[in-house]
Structures are given as structure tokens and as C-alpha cells.
């Protein structure tokens, strides 16, 4: 994509000079060091990086699950930074969708009830047409009345995906969504994520360390030591693997660039 496209496209989520530190004094760990980026509507972005690079932290901050130490985060037009717990909850409920590595479905609810859970928590009316679209896309039509314990891992994760899209959020965050799945189930989930972006104009931000998973994205952001070190558009698995290798070497060559304080 080009810079002009980025400028004209609507922004679904944005980070501005985001710093994140845990602990204080001797034990302080800095996870993010002035990260600025944005995620355009209708695109599928992957965040990659080695363990401890801050990729999950960045996603948590963007999603309003964690607070930033410095800088600011927006979802759509809403500034996330500084919101009260109640407003954050509302934001997560209405503007954000989540897909977790552990599926995290409620065992007491059927697949359909799980999918509609965010709407029923919000007390919102179900848009049946959209619900049907989502259900058909994930291919769960005949599994709607099953309990999670009666579904395979891949099916459970597809339910979780459907749940994330059910409320038509501004952005869906997926945290290692294929981490607990075999490769076939994983690719089903990834296809679904990509299709929902392409066909229904949804926005997905996915954290992963799997180059194959990342290659489904339109764009990849590489993080190392809490900073964005690279970006890649329309990647292939080979490109990604190659880039990751270089990142790892870079991290090992320049250990002095890891100061302990902000």
C-alpha cells in the first residue's frame, strides 16, 4: 500500500508515542518505548516479534485492557487513554472484539449463546442478517446448539471469532488465535479472519509469532525491544521468516541498546 492510501483510509486504531513500563526502580521493565502506529479500517494487520518484544503489550494497550505509561491510544474516534473503568468496559463491549489463544468460551452456554454474549451483555438487539452472515462464514450453522465441550478446538476458536465479530466492532484483536490449534484448524481460522476483512470490511489486528499465520495479513509490524523496527506489506511466509531471522541476529549483536530505564 502507499502513503496516500493510508492517509485517505479511515483509521480504526492508533497509537501515539506509547510507552509502557512495569514495576519501578531496580525492577522496572520497559515493554514499549515510544511506539507510534495506526491501523486502517478494512485491513488485516499482524504484529510480530520475538518473545519479550512487547507485541502482546502493544495489543493489550490498544484494546484498553492495559493502561499506557506515556502517550495515547485511540479506537476509532475515542481516545482510550485516560478512560474510566466504566467507559473502558463500554468501549470493549461496543467497539472492540477479542479472540484469545485459549478460546475462552463459557462452558454453560451453547455456541449460539456464546456468539451473542457480547450483545446480550450490552443488552443490544441482535442483527439477525449479520449474525447469519458471520455464522455461515465460520461454517458453524449445524453446531449452533452445541456446548463448547462438544466442539473441537478449531470449532471452538471459530465460535470465539464469530463472537468477536458479532457486535461489528471497530477492530478485532486476536492474541495468538492459532496458538492452540493444529495447522488445519489454524488455517481455517486465519481464512475466516482474512475473509471477514476482505468481504465485510472488518478490521483485524493479530499478534502472532507464527510466520505462516502472519502471512495471511495485509501488513506486518515487527517489534523488537519495545520499538517498531520494521513493516512489511503483502507478505509471504518466506519473507517473514527471513525478516525474523535478521531481527533475532540484530537483537543479539546489539545488547548495549537495551537500557533499563525510560
Amino acid at each position: 500500500m502507499t502513503a496516500t492510501a493510508a492517509a485517505t483510509a479511515e483509521i480504526a486504531a492508533r497509537a501515539e508515542q506509547v510507552w509502557k513500563a512495569y514495576g519501578s526502580g531496580e525492577t522496572e521493565v520497559v515493554a514499549l518505548r515510544g511506539v507510534s502506529t495506526h491501523f486502517e479500517r478494512g485491513r488485516f494487520t499482524a504484529i510480530m516479534g520475538p518473545s519479550g518484544s512487547g507485541k502482546s503489550t502493544l495489543m493489550h494497550c490498544l484494546a484498553g485492557l492495559d493502561t499506557v505509561s506515556k502517550g495515547a491510544v485511540w479506537i476509532g474516534d475515542t481516545q482510550v487513554t485516560g478512560l474510566s473503568d466504566r467507559k473502558l468496559t463500554k468501549l470493549r463491549r461496543d467497539q472492540v472484539g477479542f479472540v484469545f489463544q485459549q478460546f475462552n468460551l463459557l462452558p454453560t452456554l451453547s455456541a449460539e449463546e456464546n456468539i451473542l454474549l457480547p450483545l446480550s451483555i450490552a443488552g443490544r438487539k441482535v442483527d439477525r442478517a449479520w449474525f447469519d452472515t458471520v455464522v455461515d462464514t465460520v461454517g458453524l450453522r449445524d453446531r449452533l446448539h452445541h456446548r463448547p465441550s462438544e466442539l473441537s478446538g478449531g470449532q471452538q476458536q471459530r465460535v470465539a471469532c464469530a463472537r468477536a465479530f458479532a457486535s461489528r466492532p471497530d477492530v478485532v484483536f486476536a492474541d495468538e488465535p492459532t496458538g492452540n490449534l493444529d495447522s488445519r484448524s489454524g488455517s481455517e481460522v486465519l481464512h475466516f479472519l482474512r475473509n471477514s476483512v476482505r468481504e465485510f470490511d472488518q478490521t483485524v489486528v493479530m499478534v502472532t509469532h507464527d510466520p505462516v499465520a502472519a502471512s495471511y495479513a495485509d501488513r506486518i509490524i515487527f517489534l523488537a525491544d519495545g520499538q517498531i523496527v520494521d513493516e512489511m506489506l503483502d507478505p509471504t511466509p518466506e519473507d517473514v521468516l527471513d525478516r525474523l531471522k535478521r531481527l533475532d541476529i540484530g537483537a543479539e549483536v546489539e545488547p548495549s541498546e537495551r537500557p533499563g530505564a525510560v
Binding site: 470493549r92 477479542f98 485459549q102 475462552n104 463459557l106 454474549l117 451483555i121
Partner: protein, 855 residues
């Protein structure tokens, strides 16, 4: 293995803390009851030891000699003089004393009530007060010198608001009336005690005392003998015994002390069992809580336990790690319970003191037995509760360490079966106990009830889904409530066990409430019946069964009959008696008048004026004993000889009269001829309040006598029932409270288990308020479920016991206290909300990110 399980225990201490508290509360009650009775009996031991401190030998009438005759034998002055000459005797004090000598308040003119301890009168030798060995001394004024002078102990003076120089009215049983004395002195016991154990005591001159108590001077009821130095009590007792007139026996001071104390200890033993019963109920509830705790913790730890197994731990070792935890919890809980119990006992003693019950001071006695019983109960209960979960823990397969094993819900069929196997015999036992077959009714009833409790607890998982669904259906609005309901149904066993714990307390409270309401209804029905007496004179006697020595002079009823509006009045003399050899009561009355007062109907024979050797008996007593008209029965009232009476009539009374009835003249054969009760029939237009006032003034000199019209009577009995109900409710509150902790416990443990789920819910937009509501709904469902089970069982039990009482003629109707039962449900809802408070707070404050990452 031991190390790791102890470490694990420390790690999980928050999850187990409520189990510890449950053990602590249950054991605390057990220990408290023991400490209280030990402390009280130690107090009474000290009291009687003080009384008999300087007494080497006590001379008193034979027990059986006192039974056969109206008047016990007396020692004469000559007897006392002869005792003084016995070798080794230093001094002989002739005893001049009587019970039932009641002072009246100088302020209010009302009789001074002690509420249990005796009202004593003694004759005092002024020299004795000077004796340094005496246990009483003057703190004000002087000893009585003249016949119209009296001294009071400090407590008596306080209760009667009397001081030196006042004139005080004193009721003397032998005179059957009150007499006035001038207070000349106030006494205290050694150690500056106002009384020994809450009793009142009025002291007269020796001669006045003898006249008042025995009817003549120069006689004594017994004697206290002081030995010369170096003379052994037992040796002296033998020599004294050899010289005693017939009908008297000699005891050493120690023997007398033990005997006096043992009677009171018997009564204390009853108090101990009373409290222990409630402690056992609380412990039973505790069992449910502990069982649930271990079950849940074991389920949560299955991965860890599987790891032990994978590393080579045997099944036995896994079971033992769980049991070690139980042992530690039992030990810590019982230890704390012991302290808590001692505190409770101290508080109870303080409370008795504060409400004016002056008990002898025995300190706080924590005996070795109490410690052992408390530890054994606490540890035993915990181990037994943890046994099943511990065995279950060992069944975890090693492979469970590697992956999440989804355990399918086990079918409830076996639970259903074993529940029925317990509940059905339980119901049979209850039925057996209530029909009175075999006689051992109370323990069998208790056993039956416990069997039903455990049986229903086992059955309740089957009921969880329909019942909780119903309750939940009423509460489910909004997604959060719906999720809460689903959570309550999610683990039927857990919900059921938690609810069943609450059921126990609620069942007992409901059953007592049904019985209380039924008794009230019975009483109201009884007294509202226009056919019976309108005004009832009654004697409240706290000091033992009636025998004719307490009450009022039946001749006073002549004055009552003269009151405007009084149609007739009849006395009722009551005495304990042996009838055909078994303990019972007999009443003597003017049957012709009494017949209408009690709405008596004739079942067979003749019920009317009785001759000297004739008796009438109610149909139930007749049936129970197989008596019929024409039979002869042998009646021996307390303090009198045996006589044979012929049954001439069998009656039935709708107004509660029962037992063997004799003619009024038979009262002369009782220990005393005072009437215990009086019944007054008024004309239709009479003002009963005015009549009550007039009767009261006529009988003002008789302490313990109360006068009431029908509405007063209903009110009095109702308030007594209310007091009894409230005592039961307060004591059962402990069991309900432990069940309440059980709900908190289950919710807290469930929240641990569902941490990740809660994190997810918060992440996808559930507000804190919604999280709280979800947990509140789960809690309310458990509470209402338990309460509903309890009310159901309680109603059944109450109605069953009520029917048994109706069969025995002790009750006429069964009333269902609808308002109370609805109130219980309301309380359950409130309790559910309250129980959810802390778990809901914790759940709503979970850190979303950490919760999602929680394993």
C-alpha cells in the same frame, strides 16, 4: 510429600480459611457449653464447700423418712444437748431453716422473685455471728433480738429495697400468710459476697424461726457439728450416728457438700446437653462446608495431584496429602474453637451477671476433658468430611497432568439411590419415634432427622436443576442474571451441598415455628372458649414440682366468691404422686364446680361430687393405663401415705384438664394444703379486668401467685412460646450462619475456578456491576434453594410432630405460620445477596489481563 502438602496448604490458606472458621464455630459451641457447665459446677462446688467449711458432721432427717409423712421428724433441744456430749464434738449448731420464705419489696409491695435459687429463712444465734469461723457477718445494724426483728442478706436487702429500720413483709409457708418484721441488720458472706448463689435469706431469732418453720419452740430440723481438733470426720460421724434419734442420719461435711452439689450438677448437665445439641447441629452444617471445600479444592488441584502421580506418588500418598490438610485445618480450627468457646463461656457468665442472675463464682474452668473433646470433635469432623474428597483425589489419572481432562458429569443415579436409602429409613425412624413405640423417642427422632438431612442432601443434586431453575427463572432478567443462573446449575452437586447445609438450620427453625404457631393457636382456642373459667389463678414455681406447699390458701376463694360478677370459684390442688407405683400428678378439686370450668364431659361412670375414696380420671390416662370405672388405683402424693381410690368416672375435657382427680378433701394428704391453681367463672356482664385486680389484692400476700383473665393468659402463654422460639432461633442462628459462610465459601472457590472466564467476560465488555449481579444471582439461587428445601422439610417435620402431639392430647390444631415462612424466604434472599458481597467484590476487581492468563 508431607512438606509439599503443607506448603500447598500455606499457599491456599485463603481458600481454606472459611473451613477453619466453620470448625472453629462448631467446636467453639461444644467447648463453650463444656466450659460453662464446668465453671458453674466448680462455682457450686466452692459454694457448698464454703457452706460446710466448718462442719465436720451434718445431721439431717432420712430422705425416705421425709417422704412417708407430712411432717419430717425434728431434733429436740435434748437431742442437741446429747450430741454435744459425744466424744470429739466441739460444738453443735441446731439448724433452724426453711425454704419458701419470701420477702416482699418495701418499694413495690411485690414478692421478691429469685428466678431459680431458693428463698431461705433461718433462725440466727447472735453469738454465732460473732464467731470468726462463721461464714456470715453483720455489715450493718445488729442481730435480731426480739421476735419482730429480722436480718437480711445484702442481696435480699437490695432486691427488696430494704435497709435497717424498714418494715418488711415476709411470707412464711407454715403460716400461709405474710407477716411484718423490722429490719435490724444486713449480712454478708465471707469474701464480701452478697449471696452465695443468687438466693434470698431472711434471718429471725432462733425461737421465732422455730415457731415460724416448725410450729413450736425448742426443735431443730437438723444439726451441724464442729469437731474438736485432731478428730477425723468419719470417726466422729460413726459416733454421732450411734447416738441419733430414729429418722435421722449423719453425714460428713464432705458427703453433705457432694450431695448438695450433685443435685445442681444434674441440672447443669441438662444445660450442657441442651447447648451441645445445637453445637452438633452446627457441626453437621460444618461437615457440609468442609466437604464442599475439599471437593472443590481437589477438583481445582487435579492437575497438581496428577503431577504427583506422574512423578510416582502412590494413590495412598495422594489421599494422605489431602488428609494432612484436613488434619491441619481441624487442629487449627479446634484450637481457635477452644479459645472461642472459653470466650463464649465467659461472655455467658457476664451476661448472667448483667441480667441479675447471681451465680456462684467458679472462674473459667477449661478442663482436660474439654480440651480433648474439642480437639477430637474438630479434627474428627474435619477428617470425616475430607475423607471422600481425599479418596476421590487419588483417582486422578497421571495423564491429567499433561492436558485438560474434561470430566463429564457423573450420572446422579447412585446419589438418588443412596439418598433414598437414607431418607426413607430416616422418615420411618421419625414416624416410629412419634408414634411412641419402644419409648426411646427423642434419640430416635434425632437420628431419624439426621438421616433425613443427609438423605435429602444426597437427593438434592437431583433437585438442583428443576428447583434452582425455577428460582432462577424468577430472577433472570438480563444477561448477567442469566449467566448467574447457569453458573448455579453448572455443578449440581456443589450447589446442592451448599444449599443442603442451609436447609438443616432452616428445617429446624421452620419446624419449631410451625410447632410454636400451633401451640399458640391451641392456647388461643382453649382460652377463647366461652364455656370455661374466665379468670385463672396460677402459681409459678421455679423450685420444683408442685406438692401443695406453694400456692394460696383455698379459703381465700370465699372472698373471691363475694366479688361482684363472680359466679363461682374452684381451687385446684396439685401434687406430684406415685399412681400405681409410677410417677404422675394428682389433682384435688371440687369436681362439681370444676366440671363446668373445664367443659368436662362424661365418658363413662359418674363425674361429679366425689367421696373420700373415689377418683375420676381422663380418658387418655385411663386408656394408657388400662383403667376403667370400678378399678382401684393406689395413690401416694409426695409427703403423704399411700391410699387406694376407686375410679367412679372417666371424663374428657376439651379445655385441657387431665390426670387423676380426687375430692378437695384429699389435699390434706398432700405435703401442704395450699391450692396450686384457682378457677373463677364470671357472669356474662362482669368486667374481668376489675375482677382480676380484686382477686390480685385478695391474694397479694402469696408470692408466686399470678391472676389472669383469658386474654392475659393467651398473652402470657404466647409470650412464653415466643421466648422459647427466640431462644431456639438464636441458637440455630449459628448453624444458619455456618451455612451462610458455606455459600460465601462455595462462591469464592468457584470464582477461583472461573478466573479465566471472568477475565474473558470483562474483556468482551461485561461491566463490574454485571459481574457482581451475576454472582449475586448465583448466591441468591443457592440461598433460596436451601431455604425452600428447609421450609419444605421443616413443614413436614413440624406437622408430623404436631400430629403426634394432637394424638397425645397436648395440642388441638396445627397452624401454618405463613408470614414467618415468607419472611424466611425474604431473609434467604437478603442472606444470598450478603453472601455474594465479598466474592462479587473480588470477582469484579480481578485484573482482566491476569485473569485471562490464569491457569
Amino acid at each position: 510429600m508431607l512438606r509439599s502438602s503443607l506448603k500447598g496448604l500455606l499457599h491456599r490458606k485463603l481458600r481454606l480459611i472459611l473451613a477453619v472458621i466453620a470448625v472453629m464455630l462448631g467446636v467453639g459451641f461444644v467447648a463453650g457449653a463444656n466450659v460453662l457447665t464446668d465453671s458453674l459446677s466448680s462455682g457450686f462446688d466452692k459454694l457448698f464447700a464454703t457452706v460446710n467449711e466448718n462442719v465436720a458432721v451434718q445431721v439431717q432427717p432420712d430422705d425416705d423418712a421425709a417422704d412417708g409423712e407430712t411432717e419430717p421428724p425434728r431434733l429436740t433441744a435434748a437431742d442437741v444437748a446429747r450430741l454435744e456430749s459425744v466424744d470429739g464434738v466441739a460444738k453443735v449448731h441446731g439448724d433452724v431453716s426453711a425454704e419458701g420464705v419470701v420477702p416482699f419489696s418495701v418499694d413495690t409491695g411485690k414478692a421478691v422473685q429469685t428466678g431459680g435459687p431458693p428463698s431461705l429463712g433461718i433462725g440466727i444465734d447472735p453469738d454465732e455471728l460473732e464467731d470468726p469461723a462463721s461464714i456470715v457477718r453483720l455489715v450493718d445494724g445488729s442481730a435480731p433480738e426480739r421476735d419482730d426483728e429480722a436480718v437480711l442478706t445484702k442481696r435480699t436487702a437490695n432486691l427488696a429495697a430494704a435497709s435497717v429500720g424498714d418494715t418488711i413483709k415476709v411470707y412464711v409457708p407454715r403460716l400461709r400468710e405474710a407477716k411484718e418484721y423490722r429490719v435490724v441488720g444486713v449480712l454478708q458472706y465471707t469474701g464480701d459476697r452478697d449471696s452465695l448463689g443468687g438466693e434470698t435469706m431472711v434471718g429471725f431469732t432462733i425461737e421465732e424461726g422455730q415457731r415460724l418453720f416448725y410450729g413450736k419452740e425448742g426443735v431443730y430440723s437438723g444439726a451441724s457439728i464442729v469437731a474438736e481438733p485432731e478428730v477425723a470426720d468419719t470417726a466422729l460421724k460413726r459416733r454421732v450416728a450411734a447416738d441419733l434419734p430414729s429418722g435421722f442420719t449423719a453425714k460428713t461435711g464432705q458427703e453433705a457438700t457432694d450431695e448438695q452439689a450433685s443435685e445442681i450438677k444434674e441440672g447443669l448437665g441438662f444445660i450442657n446437653w441442651f447447648f451441645l445439641t445445637f453445637a452438633l447441629v452446627a457441626l453437621l452444617v460444618g461437615v457440609f462446608l468442609i466437604f464442599n471445600t475439599f471437593n472443590i479444592v481437589v477438583a481445582q488441584r487435579s492437575r497438581e495431584l496428577a503431577l504427583y502421580r506422574a512423578m510416582g506418588a502412590s494413590r495412598g500418598q495422594v489421599t494422605r496429602t489431602v488428609l494432612v490438610e484436613a488434619l491441619v485445618i481441624g487442629l487449627v480450627g479446634s484450637g481457635l474453637g477452644l479459645l472461642f468457646g472459653a470466650g463464649l463461656a465467659m461472655a455467658a457468665q457476664g451476661f448472667f451477671g448483667a441480667i441479675g442472675i447471681d451465680l456462684p463464682d467458679g472462674g473459667v474452668v477449661v478442663s482436660v476433658t474439654t480440651v480433648l473433646i474439642s480437639l477430637a470433635t474438630g479434627i474428627g469432623v474435619t477428617l470425616v468430611s475430607a475423607l471422600a474428597p481425599a479418596i476421590r483425589a487419588s483417582g486422578v489419572s497421571p495423564v491429567a497432568a499433561m492436558r485438560d481432562v474434561v470430566k463429564p458429569d457423573k450420572p446422579l443415579r447412585w446419589l438418588l439411590l443412596s439418598g433414598l436409602l437414607l431418607a426413607v429409613p430416616g422418615v420411618a425412624l421419625i414416624a416410629w419415634a412419634l408414634t411412641g413405640i419402644g419409648g426411646a423417642t427423642l434419640p430416635v427422632l434425632g437420628l431419624g432427622v439426621v438421616a433425613v438431612f443427609v438423605g435429602v442432601a444426597l437427593l438434592s443434586p437431583v433437585l438442583t436443576r428443576p428447583l434452582s431453575g425455577l428460582v432462577g427463572g424468577l430472577l433472570s432478567w438480563g444477561a448477567a442474571s442469566k449467566l448467574g443462573r447457569r453458573n448455579a446449575l453448572r455443578n449440581p452437586r456443589r450447589t446442592a451441598v451448599t444449599a443442603a447445609a442451609l436447609m438443616i438450620g432452616v428445617t429446624l427453625v421452620s419446624a419449631f415455628t410451625v410447632l410454636g404457631a400451633s401451640f399458640k393457636a391451641t392456647v388461643t382456642e382453649l382460652f377463647n372458649d366461652q364455656r370455661g373459667a374466665d379468670v385463672i389463678i396460677n402459681t409459678t414455681n421455679m423450685q420444683g414440682p408442685p406438692d401443695g406447699r406453694l400456692g394460696f390458701d383455698p379459703d381465700k376463694l370465699d372472698e373471691v366468691r363475694d366479688i361482684d360478677g363472680v359466679e363461682k370459684a374452684a381451687p385446684l390442688h396439685v401434687s406430684v404422686a406415685k399412681v400405681d407405683g409410677s410417677d404422675s400428678y394428682v389433682s384435688a378439686t371440687d369436681l362439681a364446680s370444676a366440671k363446668s370450668m373445664f367443659a368436662m364431659t362424661v365418658e363413662s361412670g359418674r363425674v361429679g361430687d366425689l367421696a373420700d375414696d373415689e377418683a375420676a380420671v381422663d380418658k387418655r390416662t385411663a386408656k394408657d393405663n388400662g383403667w376403667k370405672v370400678g378399678d382401684a388405683i393406689a395413690v401416694q402424693p409426695a409427703g403423704g401415705g399411700e391410699r387406694t381410690y376407686r375410679i367412679v368416672g372417666v371424663y374428657d375435657s376439651e379445655l385441657g384438664m387431665n390426670g387423676v382427680l380426687l375430692d378437695s378433701a384429699a389435699a390434706k394428704l398432700f405435703a401442704g394444703d395450699l391450692a396450686n391453681q384457682g378457677y373463677v367463672k364470671l357472669s356474662d356482664d362482669a368486667d374481668s379486668d376489675a375482677v382480676v385486680k380484686q382477686v390480685e389484692s385478695i391474694l397479694a400476700d402469696y408470692p408466686m401467685v399470678t391472676v389472669a383473665d383469658r386474654s392475659d393468659m393467651v398473652e402470657q402463654v404466647n409470650s412464653q412460646i415466643d421466648i422459647a422460639l427466640n431462644i431456639f432461633r438464636v441458637l440455630l442462628a449459628l448453624a444458619v450462619f455456618i451455612a451462610f459462610l458455606g455459600i460465601v465459601n462455595t462462591l469464592l472457590l468457584s470464582i477461583y475456578e472461573r478466573t479465566r472466564e471472568l477475565g474473558m467476560l470483562r474483556a468482551i465488555g461485561m461491566a463490574r456491576k454485571q459481574v457482581k449481579r451475576m454472582i449475586r444471582v448465583e448466591s441468591v439461587i443457592i440461598a433460596v434453594f436451601g431455604c425452600a428445601l428447609g421450609i419444605g422439610l421443616g413443614l413436614a417435620l413440624g406437622v408430623a410432630v404436631g400430629n403426634a402431639l394432637i394424638d397425645q392430647g397436648q395440642m388441638t390444631t396445627i397452624a401454618l405460620p405463613g408470614v414467618d415462612l415468607i419472611a424466611f424466604v425474604a431473609v434467604a434472599v437478603v442472606a444470598g445477596v450478603a453472601a455474594a458481597w465479598w466474592p462479587a467484590f473480588r470477582a469484579s476487581r480481578l485484573n482482566v489481563l491476569e485473569a485471562i492468563a490464569y491457569e
